[in-house]
């Protein structure tokens, strides 16, 4: 029983972080049909903001809020720098500009800060443990689960109940039609990037909370996770991204627990084989999402 509980906490806390990562990627994809490869750098931006504000003596929550805000600004900047100028031209151009922006941000951190890891302050509670029902677990894991639940609820409310959310869903379903009915394209897209940045910022706090330091390449792993999760869940569906995130965490954790030592080093091969199987079964991903409109 206690083993099962431990396992569930591990899966849910990892899955919560993965789901938020995936959601941040898919919200932009849903509208633009383009993967934002500079997404991982939003996580990096939040991390370095924490590092740079760490000497200020502000309370941790204020620093975290500033960091999340910076990630949102960086998200909006991605739109202005990499997407908006070339959006109407070609898919290839946008793909390359998003890669370029990612490289630019990474190298800026490398040149102006340091290629070596830099410390990020963590609140005391991130290093504490909680004991219940025979399980000892870091409080961080429970915080991650709670944060994921709150963020997902907030996000769901935003998408269903607010004008902005409805406009974004409309744009994701049929962008041209939505524009004809008076949905401002630039506003919707910028909002999507801002929300993407918000999710990246929150994820950054949770992800860096496991590490305690930030490096220029920190965004690579989350980007990869988010990408795989959205591919499994369905690139067009927000629910799919969340499901994909949790499923990926479940697969990784299960494999970590069950594979023998000799095979454990090939874990990623097993994970990707499972991903291929899922895609053979459901080429669109697990949840199909709205009928595909034309890319704008």
């Amino acid at each position: 029983m206690s083993f099962f509980l431990q396992f569930m906490i591990d899966v849910l806390s990892l899955g919560g972080a993965y789901a938020l990562m995936a959601l941040g990627l898919v919200i932009v994809y849903g509208i633009l049909r383009l993967v934002n490869f500079a997404y991982g750098e939003l996580i990096m931006v939040a991390g370095y903001t924490m590092y740079l504000t760490s000497g200020s003596g502000l309370p941790w929550l204020v620093m975290a809020a500033v960091a999340v805000l910076m990630a949102m600004l960086a998200g909006i900047a991605t739109d202005y720098v990499a997407f908006r100028p070339v959006r109407a031209k070609s898919v290839t151009a946008v793909l390359i500009t998003s890669f370029a922006f990612s490289t630019l941000l990474q190298n800026a951190a490398l040149l102006f800060i340091s290629p070596r890891p830099r410390n990020v302050p963590l609140p005391e509670i991130f290093s504490e443990t909680v004991q219940f029902a025979g399980v000892i677990t870091p409080a961080r894991n429970l915080i991650t689960i709670a944060t994921a639940v709150v963020m997902l609820a907030l996000f769901s409310w935003l998408m269903r109940r607010t004008v902005l959310g409805i406009a974004m869903r409309a744009a994701a379903t049929n962008f041209t039609m939505a524009r004809m009915l008076g949905v401002p394209a630039n506003l919707v897209i910028s909002s999507a990037f801002a929300i993407s940045g918000l999710l990246a910022g929150v994820v950054s706090m949770l992800w860096i909370g496991r590490i305690g330091a930030v490096v220029p390449g920190i965004g690579l792993e989350p980007l990869l996770i988010a990408f795989i999760a959205t591919v499994i869940g369905g690139m067009r569906s927000l629910q799919g991204a969340v499901l994909g995130g949790f499923l990926l965490a479940f697969m990784d954790t299960t494999l970590n627990f069950t594979l023998p030592q000799d095979l454990l080093k090939f874990r990623d091969a097993f994970t990707f084989s499972l991903v291929i199987l899922i895609l053979l079964w459901r080429p669109q991903g697990l949840i199909k999402g709205p009928a595909s409109g034309q890319r704008t």
Binding site: R116, T129, G212, A213, T253, N256, R267
Partner: protein, 391 residues
């Protein structure tokens, strides 16, 4: 449009670089460097690069080498083995007489192979895998670092012989040759001298999740005397944090990848205790009488204290080259290699002598032991293991 502008700027820069070739003058000795200042290798190569520059300035201020001025040109190897090789070729074409190779077999190997085929000596700043040998790279190639055989053996000796920790739990990150071979030699030597390995586990770099490993360790039912973690980068802090949080307070041992202030700070006062690691040097006068001088020169050049002890590997690489050239009286590859094989050198990163080319240029080198207490490192002393495992 953005792309086109970028391409134009890029082409312009390339033209500029090509237009000003740095052909070595007669009164200069050119040392080429293929260190990576960008990409995944940058955290290890950038400090080496900075240390090397300090050394070159110190050499020239003291009158140069063989009466000639020393010039050091490093072209960014970009953490790409192919680029590293190309850069080395370019530097050799420009007249490089010695080659500073990047700090890892995968990245440094290509530079050393080019140096070998040009008949010049190449030294890697800190490649520690025994693959970095004259067996695989040629009879004029060396690494400044101790091999993982020494690093693993020093850790095992310290655990069992000095502290009497008899049972070990070993975690190996499957990241690179370095992380894998360090565990291998630790385990081998620990068993040879009579220790027992309770459990060996693997970790994937970047996972940031140690829960499965923890539950396997908990399922063991026994607590190890010592925990050996061979990993790289911030993942070390992730694992130690995870272990400490659930009550595994056994001492943790590791290699030179622990020698990173950010990791120490990330663990902090609460979790950064009872951690020991084997590394290249210690940035204080206890390690070497010349260390304060080096730190002062470094400060004069960069206006700040070195942020890692890896800067000393760059200084040492250049100084070792200079000393060998002085002994040989020439920069000729074969003569310098012979001087390196025969000499005994007292470096900031430890006393060093090499085996001959048939012996793989195996470095017989002293290692530093550092203890982390309350997130602050302290110097435990130099160690030179009496016996080491075969590579």
């Amino acid at each position: 449009m953005t792309i086109r502008t970028n391409a134009l700027v890029g082409a312009g820069l390339a033209a500029l670089l090509l237009a000003t070739p740095a052909i070595a003058a007669e009164d200069e000795i050119l040392i080429g460097g293929a260190l990576s200042l960008t990409g995944v290798q940058a955290p290890l190569d950038t400090p080496g690069f900075k240390g090397a520059q300090v050394a070159v300035k110190a050499l020239n201020d003291a009158g140069g080498l063989l009466g000639k001025k020393v010039k050091f040109i490093n072209i960014d190897g970009k953490s790409d083995p192919v680029t590293v090789g190309n850069v080395a070729v370019q530097l050799i074409d420009e007249g490089a007489k010695l080659m500073v190779a990047p700090c890892d077999f995968d990245f440094g190997g290509p530079a050393s192979r080019e140096a070998q085929s040009a008949g010049i000596v190449g030294i890697s700043t800190c490649a520690s895998d025994p693959l970095y040998s004259s067996w695989s790279l040629g009879d004029k190639q060396f690494t400044l670092s101790m091999w993982n055989t020494t690093m693993g053996a020093t850790a095992a000796d310290y655990a069992l012989k000095e502290r009497g920790w008899k049972t070990a739990y070993v975690v190996t990150d499957q990241f690179i040759a370095y992380t894998k071979s360090l565990s291998k030699y630790f385990v081998e030597h620990f068993k040879t001298i009579g220790g027992e390995i309770l459990l060996e586990d693997t970790y994937t770099n970047g996972d940031n999740d140690f829960s499965a490993q923890l539950s396997r360790l908990q399922a063991l039912g026994k607590k190890p005397d010592v925990i050996f973690i061979s990993s790289y980068g911030t993942d070390i802090a992730v694992m130690i944090r995870a272990l400490r949080e659930v009550g595994y307070n056994a001492p943790v041992l590791g290699g030179d990848s622990y020698d990173e202030p950010a990791i120490h700070e990330a663990l902090g006062k609460k979790l950064g205790n009872d951690i020991y690691f084997v590394t290249h040097t210690w940035m204080g006068p206890e390690a070497h009488p010349d260390m304060p001088k080096f730190i002062q020169l470094y400060k004069d050049m960069y206006g700040e204290d070195p942020d890692t002890s890896f800067v000393a590997t760059g200084w040492d690489t250049v100084m070792l080259m200079a000393e060998a050239v002085k002994i040989a009286g020439t920069t000729d590859g074969a003569a310098v290699a012979k001087a390196l094989e025969e000499g005994e050198f007292k470096l900031l990163t430890g006393d060093l002598s090499y085996k001959d080319a048939d012996g793989g240029h195996a470095p017989d080198k002293a290692a530093v032991l550092v203890e982390l207490k309350g997130g602050t490192p302290s110097f435990l002393g130099w160690r030179r293991p009496a016996s080491i495992p075969n590579p």
